[in-house]
Amino acid sequence: MVDTQTHGEERKQVPVLRVEGMSKHFLATRALDNARLEVLGGEVHALTGENGAGKSTLMKILGGALTPDTGTIWLEGKKVQFKGTLDARRWGIVLVHQELSLVPQISVAENIFLGNLPRRSFARVDRRKMIQDANQVLRRLECDFDASTLVKSLPLGKRQMVEIARAFSVSPKVAIFDEPTASLSEQDKEILFRAIRDLRRRSVGIIYISHRLEEVFEIADRISVLRDGAYRGTLLASDTDEAEVTRMMIGRNVEHACATAGHAGGEPVLEVIGLSAPGKFRDVSFTVRAGEIVGMYGLVGAGRTEVAEAIFGLRRTTDGEIRLRGKRLHRISPKEAVAAGIALVPESRKEQGLVLNMSCRANVTLPLLDAVSTCGMLDFGREQVVFDRYAQALAIKTTGSTLKVMYLSGGNQQKIVIAKWLATDPKLLILDEPTRGIDVGSKAAIHILVRDLADRGYAILLISSEMSEVLGVSDRVLAMYSGQIVADFDARDLTEHKLVSAVLGDKVDESRLPTLPMSQAIHGK
């Protein structure tokens, strides 16, 4: 599995990149906690960890886009401090972003050399040289399009190759790839790996960030793990396996994570039958019962959020039926969804779930203004009662109900959003990535809370891309891939391996899965 051809015993002993004591926080969240990393020249060093573990934050700091609170970076033994991304590039660190940071309206060549366009006399851009050099890089990456093409006319996979080309257009000392294969076809992935191995031969230090452990073991020499912003350890890829790495990532044995008592569930609260929204999901069917937690697992882009939006009335569907407690819901608006008893705690709490500038109290009562007012006049007393009730039930830590919600920690903010929706007295609670970006302590508290809510009779649909969360909290798990439900498991006999296989499109249980050829499975639709 591991590529053993190139490195052998002769490797530079001085690491090309070393990071020590790096910490960074955003408002109340600790993104990095005394993290460290060491990369040797001529090695592919993988960095793994769950969502919110701090990988992207660390990479953004190395790439010069963020400044850390504390910490030191040594490049080839010399202490460095970056004044910005161009500065980092000049020093020789190149970062290929996870979210594409291209300018669609200009050409591929201009994107590749963004910030560093080749010049002629009198500050004119040397277009010919720029396109020539860009084409050289593109050929090396076996791309079939010309460097003068406008990025906006390229599909996602090719755009990702352009992003990657940025790294190959200079001669870096360190190249960082953040989830580079997210939108690549199998072929392009092989091309990328060939190019990375080429970089390794030239003694470049490569950091490869990925969730996909299969890939990590295919390309990496060493693997470092981050969890909750802290460094957990480094392993030689040849000395370890996926299970051990996963254990380091999620902090406990995978087997134990499945130890919830599978609740049989009461009567069906939500029935989704053959639901389709063109381009997003197709023929989705499942049931959620009272007292049951159904986990919906899948990679980003699988269509889970879109299904939730459709149930809540935020998205049109072209086919299929949604039934709440037996009654058919037809083309409803969010307001009607709330009235019917559906609550959706959205993925992005800052943009969609909260009005940051308003008080905690006002946020919690936002969907219930009619209930806490008389003839259009607000009753602050009643509002406080509602707030107190839920603040207590959810153990929300805040110094006062009139504190603006933007000052709360991520975990408490999320609780405010949950409180808000609980206050609407729903029958069905949909949670979309409820513990994203939240530290491990608050995460556990929210998991306990969700379990408690289910025990009290709520029907819960939990959408998550974190394996441990889905496995640890759910009674049943739906695996979603590329807009379709590919498997429906009982959590009791579910292992991590089965779930991962289902979500990546491999055949697990032939009686349960539709057949999807590999290439179609990977770049979908």
Binding site: Q352, N357, G376, K420
Partner: protein
């Protein structure tokens, strides 16, 4: 009256603009002749009423996350109608002026709601259209009010306070009450501060936005009419600078133009600050050229100071 209604964060001391206005007043006490007199104070209050009325409605629109650039020319239109139609009687003329403001506000609100176009663009359009209507109607002539009682109203007093100033303060109090205590007010803040969250919570976003535009049009009309009672006339370019000063007063008063934050206490403070500055500089016989430059510099300084304080 306002003090009874305000919660802690809204008291005058917490609003830096009031301290700023007080500081300006104190400075003028020292250097401007005749600044310290009851007559002058009444003057300041009276002169602040025009921008004052305009800023009331516009503040709520801005808190709601929108903007209304048409207020200046709506004021001019209302004034022209209220003066020009007096041959039909003062009351019908004034009602016509107010109705014009309300209708234009309604138009603004409906277009922003139904088309989804940003309010900046929409009200830029209505502003131009209303300006055209004003020019068409007045043929660039000033109208003198036929009814003497009309102009007398502009300079009348109720007790020690000029009538218009008193009306301004009463309106401000009532609107602050609406902002703080009613569902409509809460909606305005919520939609301005987080439109997506508000929509998801089921708030009637478009409906409330439209009401706020109507309020803005209404108060713009009142402001224009108020000004014309002071002048005893309406002039063809009344609307030119009004919106700029109005927005300045609002922003300097602490309202965030992006929405979700602001108060009428702050806006009134901003209105007074500007009025005091203009008044003091006029008493010092500073040539009008310099007045604009000084006012601009001072207001930028106020904004920088508020930024440092973290209130902006």
């Amino acid at each position: 009256m306002t003090a009874l209604v305000l919660p802690a964060g809204r008291t005058l001391l917490r609003q830096p603009i009031w301290m700023f206005a007080a500081a300006a007043a104190l400075i003028f006490v020292g250097i401007a002749p005749h600044f310290v007199s009851i007559g002058n104070a009444q003057n300041v209050l009276l002169q602040s009423s025009t921008i004052g009325f305009l800023s009331l409605g516009l503040t709520i629109v801005m808190i709601n996350g929108n903007i209304d650039l048409s207020v200046g020319w709506v004021a001019a239109l209302a004034a022209s109608l209220a003066v020009g139609l007096q041959s039909f009687g003062v009351l019908p003329a004034v009602i016509a002026g107010i109705a014009a403001g309300v209708l234009i506000g309604l138009l603004n609100g409906l277009i922003v709601w139904k088309s989804g176009i940003d309010s900046f663009i929409v009200t830029l359009g209505t502003m131009a259209a209303v300006r055209g209507v004003v020019f068409l109607y007045t043929r660039e002539q000033s109208f003198a009010a036929m009814n003497l009682g009309y102009s007398a109203f502009g300079s009348s007093f109720i007790g020690p306070l000029p009538t218009l100033g008193l009306l301004f303060l009463v309106s401000a109090s009532m609107l602050e009450f609406v902002l703080l205590k009613t569902v409509h007010g809460r909606d305005a803040y919520a939609v301005g501060g987080g439109r997506q969250a508000s929509m998801d919570a089921g708030l009637k976003v478009g409906w409330h936005m439209t009401i706020n535009f109507v309020l803005s049009g209404f108060f713009a009309a009142i402001g224009g009419i108020a000004l014309s009672t002071q002048l005893g006339a309406s002039t063809p370019d009344m609307g030119s600078d009004l919106v700029l000063w109005t927005i300045t007063a609002i922003v300097v008063g602490g309202t965030d133009w992006r929405g979700g934050q602001g108060s009428l206490v702050g806006t009134v403070g901003g209105v007074f600050a500007i009025a005091i500055l203009r008044n003091g500089l006029a008493l010092m016989h500073v040539p009008s050229f310099y007045v604009l430059v000084i006012l601009g510099a001072v207001l930028i300084a106020a904004l920088v100071w508020e930024r440092k304080l973290g209130t902006i």
